[in-house]
Amino acid sequence: MGLLTIIRKNRLKEKEMRILFLGLDNAGKTTILKKLNGEDISGISPTLGFNIKTFVHGKYTLNVWDVGGQRTLRPYWRNYFEQTDALVWVVDSGDRMRMQDCKEELHSLLLEDRLAGASLLIFANKQDIQGSMTCAEIRDALDLSSIKSHHWKILPCSAVTGENLIAGLDWVVGDVADRIYYGSSSALPTNPQTAEVVVS
């Protein structure tokens, strides 16, 4: 039995999920994860390479990969696609100047075979800063309504205040669990709150 087979077996037994955090540099990926983990969020340097964090969320173990988003690092994102259950796309809501860039990077990720089927959460981060674009503005700027290939949802959040961070992970875990642990055919939204979910 190969190493990978063993890992897959473990994965099923322990109800693991693999979650990939991506987004442009300065979006707040690392800060969000540190905040979720109860760590100090000052003094974080931009990520050169990646970090892995493991959270226990109810009966699931989440392996979260946080990969640096500086332009020179983006070609390496693809090294982390394998076996991704959910993609969390983090947006700096104050970064009007790069919304176009942000949209293009996101939409090109959605074409990746190895991410097909992954749930997609968009975090409209830094809502604590006045003058940030609202969640609805970001939904339009990123043309989210054209996404038919993935279940998706957008949530306004702040890594500084913690607003909606746990709610976001709740959605991710619920959506992935519906799909991989309870059969995918029944993944239709059962709850009117998830009106943003698009089923392909």
Partner: protein
């Protein structure tokens, strides 16, 4: 060229083999030891990440076959580490409470769609797009706090499309809703397309993101600093994380001038001794060798307190003549 590649391939092979032996034995030790020691695990994660980085950098010259071998080993190490982290997870620092989705919890009510639907009814105060601090589209001008709107709370500051300007935001407009004359604050800076411009900012709590600067001088204190696609910029910085440059050249770094910090009242934690303004990481040059794209500003090139004083110790605007006197003393030399 051929030869130098061959040497690099051999060198990388040697480095990789050494790292491989080291990582494997540490992994085995951790696996054998029951509950993995979290410090050792962290060190292992860091070293595996470093090896991955080196491998990525070497990809340009490695033959495909070698790449595949290295990739396989790295993948298996990363997977092993992942499963070790899972076994070390039973006592996490943080665990989520199970939260059954209730229709009444505010968290589930805060999706965009709900905002859109509820906004007209609740008339919740929208974060209007115009309510942030912005300076844009000026040339040959002196701009200070008076050029900005007065806002109620901390905001994003956007500065774009300036040419031959001096911007002095050491003093920001006073708060629109404060009786005590408190100042507006900004907690994020986004700047783009500035040339021949001197930008003097206070020390603030947030990140700075700058693109497309040409022959500029910028002084600021912030949590994070990222500069992209810029050329010939002198940066005077107080910072607690590693400053980042990418696609930049001829960038020089120095500490935040004392002539400026002494004028700031109630400035949040100015770091002089411990500032990391020289711990620059050039993401366009991730190698062991020194980046050719930045340097420390030599002491003899530093402006004096009087030079800065031409801009900051004044209560009136600057005339064209004042500006022409100050600019050459603060900007990097014309090339």
């Amino acid at each position: 060229m051929e030869d130098s590649n061959k040497t690099r391939i051999q060198e990388f092979y040697a480095t990789f083999q050494a790292a491989r032996t080291d990582l494997s034995s540490r992994l085995e030790a951790l696996k054998a030891g029951g509950q993995p020691d979290s410090d050792k695990l962290h060190a292992l994660v860091a070293d595996a990440a470093k090896l991955r980085k080196e491998f990525i950098d070497a990809n340009g010259y490695l033959p495909t076959y070698d790449q595949r071998q290295y990739e396989q080993f790295l993948k298996s190490v990363e997977a092993d580490i992942e499963s070790l982290r899972v076994t070390s997870a039973p006592k996490p620092k943080f665990a989520f409470k199970r939260r059954p989705p209730k229709a009444s919890t505010p968290s589930t009510a805060q999706t965009c769609a709900d905002h859109a639907k509820e906004a007209p009814i609740l008339s919740a105060p929208p974060t209007s797009s115009s309510s942030h601090l912005a300076l844009s589209g000026h040339s040959h001008k002196y701009l200070d706090g008076g050029s900005l709107p007065s806002l109620a709370s901390s905001s994003d500051l956007t500065i774009s499309d300036l040419e031959d300007c001096i911007v002095n935001l050491l003093t920001l407009p006073s708060l629109s809703d404060a009786e005590d004359g408190g100042q507006c604050k900004f907690t994020a800076l986004h700047a783009r397309n500035l040339s021949n411009t001197v930008l003097i900012l206070p020390v603030f709590d947030g990140s700075a993101l700058l693109h497309d600067l040409k022959r500029c001088t910028i002084a600021l204190g912030c949590h994070q600093f990222r500069m992209h696609a810029s050329h010939a910029v002198d940066v005077y910085l107080s910072i607690e994380s590693n400053p980042i440059i990418e696609h930049c050249s001829s960038i020089r770094f120095a500490e935040y001038p004392r002539a400026l910090s002494s004028t700031l009242d109630a400035s949040p934690s100015i770091l002089h001794e411990t500032s990391k303004h020289l711990a620059v990481q050039d993401f366009s040059h991730i190698r062991a060798t020194r980046s050719p794209n930045w340097s420390a500003l030599p002491a003899e090139a530093l402006p004096s307190g009087d030079d800065w004083g031409l801009v900051v110790r004044r209560d009136t605007s600057m005339s064209r003549d004042d500006m022409e006197e100050a600019m050459p003393r603060l900007l990097p030399a014309q090339q």
